[in-house]
Protein backbone atom coordinates (compact mmCIF):
# COMPACT_ATOMS: atom_id res chain seq x y z
CA UNK A 1 0.00 0.00 0.00
CA UNK A 2 2.65 2.45 1.12
CA UNK A 3 4.86 1.42 -1.72
CA UNK A 4 2.04 2.05 -4.18
CA UNK A 5 1.40 5.56 -2.81
CA UNK A 6 5.08 6.38 -2.93
CA UNK A 7 5.28 5.23 -6.53
CA UNK A 8 2.33 7.40 -7.42
CA UNK A 9 3.80 10.42 -5.69
CA UNK A 10 7.11 9.94 -7.46
CA UNK A 11 5.30 9.78 -10.79
CA UNK A 12 3.45 13.03 -10.04
CA UNK A 13 6.71 14.70 -9.05
CA UNK A 14 8.33 13.55 -12.27
CA UNK A 15 5.42 14.91 -14.29
CA UNK A 16 5.67 18.29 -12.52
CA UNK A 17 9.40 18.53 -13.19
CA UNK A 18 8.97 17.58 -16.84
CA UNK A 19 6.12 20.07 -17.33
CA UNK A 20 7.88 22.96 -15.59
CA UNK A 21 9.83 24.19 -18.65
CA UNK A 22 6.62 24.08 -20.69
CA UNK A 23 4.92 26.55 -18.35
CA UNK A 24 8.00 28.74 -18.17
CA UNK A 25 8.20 28.94 -21.96
CA UNK A 26 5.03 31.07 -22.09
CA UNK A 27 6.79 34.19 -20.84
CA UNK A 28 10.34 33.09 -21.57
CA UNK A 29 12.42 36.01 -22.77
CA UNK A 30 16.06 35.65 -23.58
CA UNK A 31 18.70 37.93 -22.06
CA UNK A 32 22.47 37.96 -22.28
CA UNK A 33 22.84 37.82 -18.50
CA UNK A 34 21.01 37.94 -15.18
CA UNK A 35 21.67 41.66 -14.78
CA UNK A 36 19.77 42.46 -17.98
CA UNK A 37 16.91 40.28 -16.84
CA UNK A 38 16.78 42.06 -13.48
CA UNK A 39 16.77 45.45 -15.22
CA UNK A 40 13.92 44.31 -17.46
CA UNK A 41 11.88 43.09 -14.51
CA UNK A 42 12.50 46.34 -12.62
CA UNK A 43 11.53 48.50 -15.62
CA UNK A 44 8.29 46.69 -16.42
CA UNK A 45 7.38 46.79 -12.73
CA UNK A 46 7.86 50.56 -12.37
CA UNK A 47 6.31 51.63 -15.68
CA UNK A 48 2.61 52.15 -16.07
CA UNK A 49 0.51 50.70 -18.84
CA UNK A 50 -0.82 53.65 -20.90
CA UNK A 51 -4.03 51.80 -21.75
CA UNK A 52 -5.21 50.40 -18.46
CA UNK A 53 -4.21 53.29 -16.14
CA UNK A 54 -4.02 51.30 -12.93
CA UNK A 55 -1.57 48.54 -13.63
CA UNK A 56 2.07 48.37 -14.53
CA UNK A 57 3.50 46.96 -17.75
CA UNK A 58 4.36 43.70 -16.01
CA UNK A 59 0.81 43.04 -14.86
CA UNK A 60 -1.16 44.13 -17.90
CA UNK A 61 -2.67 42.00 -20.65
CA UNK A 62 -3.30 45.01 -22.91
CA UNK A 63 -1.69 44.68 -26.35
CA UNK A 64 0.15 47.97 -25.91
CA UNK A 65 1.71 46.68 -22.67
CA UNK A 66 3.00 43.63 -24.54
CA UNK A 67 4.37 45.91 -27.27
CA UNK A 68 6.12 48.13 -24.77
CA UNK A 69 7.56 45.12 -22.93
CA UNK A 70 8.93 43.91 -26.28
CA UNK A 71 10.32 47.39 -26.97
CA UNK A 72 12.06 47.51 -23.57
CA UNK A 73 13.43 44.00 -24.11
CA UNK A 74 14.83 45.01 -27.50
CA UNK A 75 16.38 48.19 -26.16
CA UNK A 76 18.03 46.35 -23.27
CA UNK A 77 19.52 43.83 -25.71
CA UNK A 78 20.66 46.76 -27.88
CA UNK A 79 22.66 48.02 -24.91
CA UNK A 80 20.58 51.07 -24.00
CA UNK A 81 20.75 52.25 -20.40
CA UNK A 82 17.72 52.46 -18.11
CA UNK A 83 17.80 56.26 -18.39
CA UNK A 84 17.80 56.07 -22.19
CA UNK A 85 14.84 53.68 -22.18
CA UNK A 86 12.90 55.84 -19.72
CA UNK A 87 13.65 58.96 -21.78
CA UNK A 88 12.46 57.16 -24.92
CA UNK A 89 9.15 56.24 -23.31
CA UNK A 90 8.55 59.58 -21.55
CA UNK A 91 9.26 61.28 -24.88
CA UNK A 92 6.35 59.37 -26.42
CA UNK A 93 3.94 58.68 -23.60
CA UNK A 94 4.74 61.55 -21.25
CA UNK A 95 5.34 61.54 -17.50
CA UNK A 96 2.17 59.56 -17.22
CA UNK A 97 4.01 56.34 -17.93
CA UNK A 98 6.15 56.75 -14.81
CA UNK A 99 4.48 55.48 -11.68
CA UNK A 100 6.97 57.55 -9.75
CA UNK A 101 6.69 61.05 -11.24
CA UNK A 102 9.83 63.16 -11.53
CA UNK A 103 10.30 66.16 -9.28
CA UNK A 104 9.31 69.18 -11.37
CA UNK A 105 7.40 72.41 -10.90
CA UNK A 106 4.22 70.65 -12.04
CA UNK A 107 4.70 67.70 -9.69
CA UNK A 108 6.09 69.62 -6.70
CA UNK A 109 2.70 69.68 -5.01
CA UNK A 110 2.41 65.91 -5.45
CA UNK A 111 5.76 65.38 -3.77
CA UNK A 112 5.59 67.94 -1.00
CA UNK A 113 1.91 67.97 -0.04
CA UNK A 114 1.99 64.77 2.06
CA UNK A 115 4.96 65.78 4.31
CA UNK A 116 3.60 69.34 4.58
CA UNK A 117 0.18 68.07 5.59
CA UNK A 118 1.79 65.77 8.14
CA UNK A 119 3.78 68.69 9.55
CA UNK A 120 0.67 70.88 9.66
CA UNK A 121 -1.21 68.10 11.45
CA UNK A 122 1.60 67.81 13.96
CA UNK A 123 1.54 71.54 14.73
CA UNK A 124 -2.24 71.62 15.00
CA UNK A 125 -2.15 68.69 17.38
CA UNK A 126 0.56 70.35 19.47
CA UNK A 127 -1.42 73.55 19.72
CA UNK A 128 -4.60 71.71 20.66
CA UNK A 129 -2.75 69.79 23.36
CA UNK A 130 -1.15 72.93 24.82
CA UNK A 131 -4.53 74.72 24.73
CA UNK A 132 -6.06 71.86 26.60
CA UNK A 133 -3.26 71.85 29.16
CA UNK A 134 -3.68 75.59 29.68
CA UNK A 135 -7.40 75.18 30.10
CA UNK A 136 -6.87 72.39 32.60
CA UNK A 137 -4.40 74.55 34.50
CA UNK A 138 -6.86 77.43 34.57
CA UNK A 139 -9.66 75.27 35.80
CA UNK A 140 -7.39 73.59 38.33
CA UNK A 141 -6.24 76.87 39.94
CA UNK A 142 -8.45 78.55 42.54
CA UNK A 143 -9.90 82.02 42.42
CA UNK A 144 -8.74 84.60 44.98
CA UNK A 145 -11.79 84.00 47.10
CA UNK A 146 -11.28 80.25 47.07
CA UNK A 147 -7.59 80.72 47.80
CA UNK A 148 -8.46 82.78 50.88
CA UNK A 149 -10.89 80.20 52.07
CA UNK A 150 -8.32 77.48 51.58
CA UNK A 151 -5.73 79.45 53.52
CA UNK A 152 -8.24 80.02 56.26
CA UNK A 153 -9.04 76.34 56.48
CA UNK A 154 -5.38 75.36 56.38
CA UNK A 155 -4.57 78.00 58.96
CA UNK A 156 -7.23 76.64 61.25
CA UNK A 157 -5.97 73.14 60.72
CA UNK A 158 -2.41 74.26 61.63
CA UNK A 159 -3.60 75.83 64.92
CA UNK A 160 -5.61 72.82 65.90
CA UNK A 161 -2.57 70.57 66.25
CA UNK A 162 -2.55 71.10 69.98
CA UNK A 163 -6.14 70.22 70.68
CA UNK A 164 -7.01 67.63 68.13
CA UNK A 165 -10.27 66.44 69.52
CA UNK A 166 -11.65 69.92 69.71
CA UNK A 167 -10.69 70.64 66.13
CA UNK A 168 -12.20 67.46 64.83
CA UNK A 169 -15.44 68.44 66.32
CA UNK A 170 -15.12 71.81 64.66
CA UNK A 171 -14.32 70.29 61.33
CA UNK A 172 -17.23 67.93 61.42
CA UNK A 173 -19.40 70.81 62.44
CA UNK A 174 -18.12 72.91 59.56
CA UNK A 175 -18.65 70.07 57.16
CA UNK A 176 -22.18 69.67 58.27
CA UNK A 177 -22.90 73.36 58.12
Amino acid sequence: MLKYLFKRFALLLLAAVVMLPVFAAIEEIQFADEEQKARYQALIAELRCPMCLNSNLAGSDAPIAADLRAEIHEQILAGNSDDQILAFLVDRYGQFILYKPRLQAATALLWFAPPLLLLAGFFIMRRMLSNRRQLAAEQGSLSEQEQQRLQALLGNAGDSNTDKNDKNDDMTGANRG
Binding site: P50, M51, A62, I64, D67, R92, G94
Partner: protein, 177 residues
Protein backbone atom coordinates in the same frame (compact mmCIF):
# COMPACT_ATOMS: atom_id res chain seq x y z
CA UNK B 1 -11.24 83.62 15.56
CA UNK B 2 -13.86 82.62 18.04
CA UNK B 3 -13.96 79.04 19.25
CA UNK B 4 -17.38 78.64 17.76
CA UNK B 5 -16.12 79.54 14.28
CA UNK B 6 -13.22 77.10 14.70
CA UNK B 7 -15.69 74.25 15.06
CA UNK B 8 -16.65 74.73 11.43
CA UNK B 9 -13.13 74.31 10.03
CA UNK B 10 -13.31 70.50 9.72
CA UNK B 11 -16.74 70.77 8.12
CA UNK B 12 -15.50 73.29 5.55
CA UNK B 13 -12.44 71.13 4.88
CA UNK B 14 -14.67 68.09 4.43
CA UNK B 15 -17.00 69.85 1.98
CA UNK B 16 -14.02 71.18 -0.01
CA UNK B 17 -12.55 67.66 -0.19
CA UNK B 18 -15.91 66.28 -1.27
CA UNK B 19 -16.13 68.92 -4.01
CA UNK B 20 -12.65 68.07 -5.26
CA UNK B 21 -13.37 64.34 -5.37
CA UNK B 22 -16.71 64.92 -7.06
CA UNK B 23 -14.98 67.06 -9.69
CA UNK B 24 -12.48 64.22 -10.17
CA UNK B 25 -15.31 61.74 -10.77
CA UNK B 26 -16.59 63.89 -13.62
CA UNK B 27 -13.20 63.82 -15.38
CA UNK B 28 -12.43 61.18 -17.96
CA UNK B 29 -9.43 59.22 -16.65
CA UNK B 30 -8.59 58.09 -20.19
CA UNK B 31 -7.79 61.65 -21.22
CA UNK B 32 -4.09 61.40 -20.68
CA UNK B 33 -2.29 64.52 -21.88
CA UNK B 34 -0.30 63.64 -24.98
CA UNK B 35 3.43 64.15 -24.88
CA UNK B 36 3.43 64.87 -28.63
CA UNK B 37 1.17 67.91 -28.78
CA UNK B 38 3.11 70.93 -30.10
CA UNK B 39 5.96 68.69 -31.20
CA UNK B 40 6.96 67.88 -34.78
CA UNK B 41 5.55 64.80 -36.43
CA UNK B 42 7.77 61.73 -35.78
CA UNK B 43 9.78 60.67 -38.81
CA UNK B 44 8.69 57.46 -40.46
CA UNK B 45 8.73 55.52 -43.68
CA UNK B 46 6.33 52.59 -43.87
CA UNK B 47 4.73 50.42 -46.56
CA UNK B 48 1.63 51.79 -48.25
CA UNK B 49 -1.58 49.80 -47.77
CA UNK B 50 -2.69 49.71 -51.40
CA UNK B 51 0.28 50.22 -53.73
CA UNK B 52 2.51 47.16 -53.67
CA UNK B 53 6.09 48.18 -52.85
CA UNK B 54 4.78 51.69 -52.22
CA UNK B 55 6.06 53.63 -49.23
CA UNK B 56 4.50 56.45 -47.23
CA UNK B 57 7.01 58.72 -45.51
CA UNK B 58 6.62 61.56 -43.03
CA UNK B 59 8.09 64.00 -45.59
CA UNK B 60 4.85 63.54 -47.57
CA UNK B 61 2.94 65.15 -44.72
CA UNK B 62 4.17 68.71 -45.18
CA UNK B 63 2.56 72.00 -46.09
CA UNK B 64 -1.06 71.22 -45.36
CA UNK B 65 -3.45 70.17 -42.64
CA UNK B 66 -3.35 66.45 -41.96
CA UNK B 67 -5.45 64.15 -39.85
CA UNK B 68 -3.54 61.00 -38.93
CA UNK B 69 -5.92 58.26 -37.81
CA UNK B 70 -4.75 55.00 -36.22
CA UNK B 71 -7.30 52.30 -36.95
CA UNK B 72 -7.74 48.54 -37.36
CA UNK B 73 -10.43 46.13 -38.43
CA UNK B 74 -10.17 44.31 -35.06
CA UNK B 75 -11.03 47.54 -33.24
CA UNK B 76 -14.77 47.82 -32.62
CA UNK B 77 -14.84 51.61 -31.99
CA UNK B 78 -13.08 52.09 -35.36
CA UNK B 79 -16.11 50.50 -37.03
CA UNK B 80 -18.30 53.07 -35.26
CA UNK B 81 -16.00 55.91 -36.26
CA UNK B 82 -15.53 54.91 -39.89
CA UNK B 83 -18.75 56.29 -41.45
CA UNK B 84 -18.12 59.65 -39.73
CA UNK B 85 -14.60 59.78 -41.13
CA UNK B 86 -15.93 59.04 -44.62
CA UNK B 87 -18.54 61.78 -44.28
CA UNK B 88 -16.18 64.37 -42.78
CA UNK B 89 -13.44 63.68 -45.33
CA UNK B 90 -15.93 64.32 -48.15
CA UNK B 91 -16.93 67.61 -46.58
CA UNK B 92 -13.52 68.93 -45.44
CA UNK B 93 -11.63 68.68 -48.70
CA UNK B 94 -8.66 70.82 -47.61
CA UNK B 95 -7.68 68.29 -44.94
CA UNK B 96 -5.66 65.25 -45.96
CA UNK B 97 -6.82 62.19 -44.08
CA UNK B 98 -4.01 59.73 -43.41
CA UNK B 99 -4.93 56.23 -42.27
CA UNK B 100 -2.45 54.16 -40.28
CA UNK B 101 -3.57 50.56 -40.34
CA UNK B 102 -2.43 49.55 -36.87
CA UNK B 103 -1.35 45.94 -36.14
CA UNK B 104 -3.93 44.56 -38.51
CA UNK B 105 -4.34 41.99 -41.25
CA UNK B 106 -3.69 44.03 -44.43
CA UNK B 107 -6.06 41.97 -46.56
CA UNK B 108 -8.88 42.55 -44.05
CA UNK B 109 -8.01 46.24 -44.03
CA UNK B 110 -8.13 46.56 -47.83
CA UNK B 111 -11.42 44.71 -47.93
CA UNK B 112 -12.89 46.88 -45.15
CA UNK B 113 -12.01 50.14 -46.94
CA UNK B 114 -13.14 48.72 -50.28
CA UNK B 115 -16.57 47.83 -48.91
CA UNK B 116 -17.29 50.76 -46.63
CA UNK B 117 -15.54 53.61 -48.38
CA UNK B 118 -12.04 54.97 -47.98
CA UNK B 119 -11.69 58.35 -46.26
CA UNK B 120 -7.88 58.23 -46.48
CA UNK B 121 -5.84 59.87 -49.25
CA UNK B 122 -2.78 58.16 -47.80
CA UNK B 123 -2.87 54.73 -46.20
CA UNK B 124 0.08 53.05 -44.54
CA UNK B 125 0.69 49.85 -42.65
CA UNK B 126 2.09 49.76 -39.13
CA UNK B 127 2.22 45.99 -38.84
CA UNK B 128 4.03 45.66 -35.50
CA UNK B 129 2.84 48.87 -33.84
CA UNK B 130 6.26 50.57 -33.87
CA UNK B 131 4.86 53.77 -35.42
CA UNK B 132 2.15 53.61 -32.77
CA UNK B 133 4.85 53.69 -30.08
CA UNK B 134 6.53 56.67 -31.79
CA UNK B 135 3.18 58.47 -31.72
CA UNK B 136 2.52 57.47 -28.11
CA UNK B 137 -0.54 55.50 -29.13
CA UNK B 138 -2.10 53.33 -26.44
CA UNK B 139 -4.77 51.77 -28.65
CA UNK B 140 -6.97 52.40 -31.66
CA UNK B 141 -8.64 54.66 -32.58
CA UNK B 142 -6.42 57.65 -31.95
CA UNK B 143 -6.27 60.67 -34.21
CA UNK B 144 -3.63 63.38 -34.55
CA UNK B 145 -4.17 66.81 -36.07
CA UNK B 146 -1.04 68.04 -37.88
CA UNK B 147 -0.70 71.66 -38.99
CA UNK B 148 0.98 73.19 -42.08
CA UNK B 149 4.40 73.30 -40.40
CA UNK B 150 4.28 69.59 -39.61
CA UNK B 151 3.56 70.13 -35.92
CA UNK B 152 1.10 67.95 -34.02
CA UNK B 153 -1.55 70.26 -32.62
CA UNK B 154 -4.00 67.87 -31.02
CA UNK B 155 -4.47 64.22 -30.18
CA UNK B 156 -7.90 62.69 -29.92
CA UNK B 157 -8.35 59.40 -28.07
CA UNK B 158 -11.45 57.45 -29.03
CA UNK B 159 -14.15 57.77 -31.63
CA UNK B 160 -14.58 60.91 -33.72
CA UNK B 161 -18.25 61.51 -34.50
CA UNK B 162 -20.10 64.62 -35.64
CA UNK B 163 -20.38 66.01 -32.12
CA UNK B 164 -16.65 65.57 -31.40
CA UNK B 165 -15.84 67.05 -34.78
CA UNK B 166 -17.98 70.16 -34.27
CA UNK B 167 -17.02 70.75 -30.66
CA UNK B 168 -13.33 69.88 -30.74
CA UNK B 169 -11.93 69.87 -34.26
CA UNK B 170 -13.82 72.77 -35.84
CA UNK B 171 -12.48 75.37 -33.34
CA UNK B 172 -8.94 74.00 -33.73
CA UNK B 173 -9.21 74.07 -37.51
CA UNK B 174 -10.48 77.66 -37.41
CA UNK B 175 -7.15 78.58 -35.79
CA UNK B 176 -5.15 76.75 -38.43
CA UNK B 177 -6.94 77.93 -41.54
Amino acid sequence: MSNRAKLFIPAVFFVAMLGLLFYGLGQNPNLVPSALVNRPLPEFSLPALFETNGVVGSEQLKGGIYLVNFWATWCAPCHVEHPYLVEISERETDITFVGVNYKDDVDDAREFLGERGNPFKLSLVDANGSLGIDFGVAGAPETFLVDQSGTIRYKHVGVIDNRVWDEVFVPLLAELR
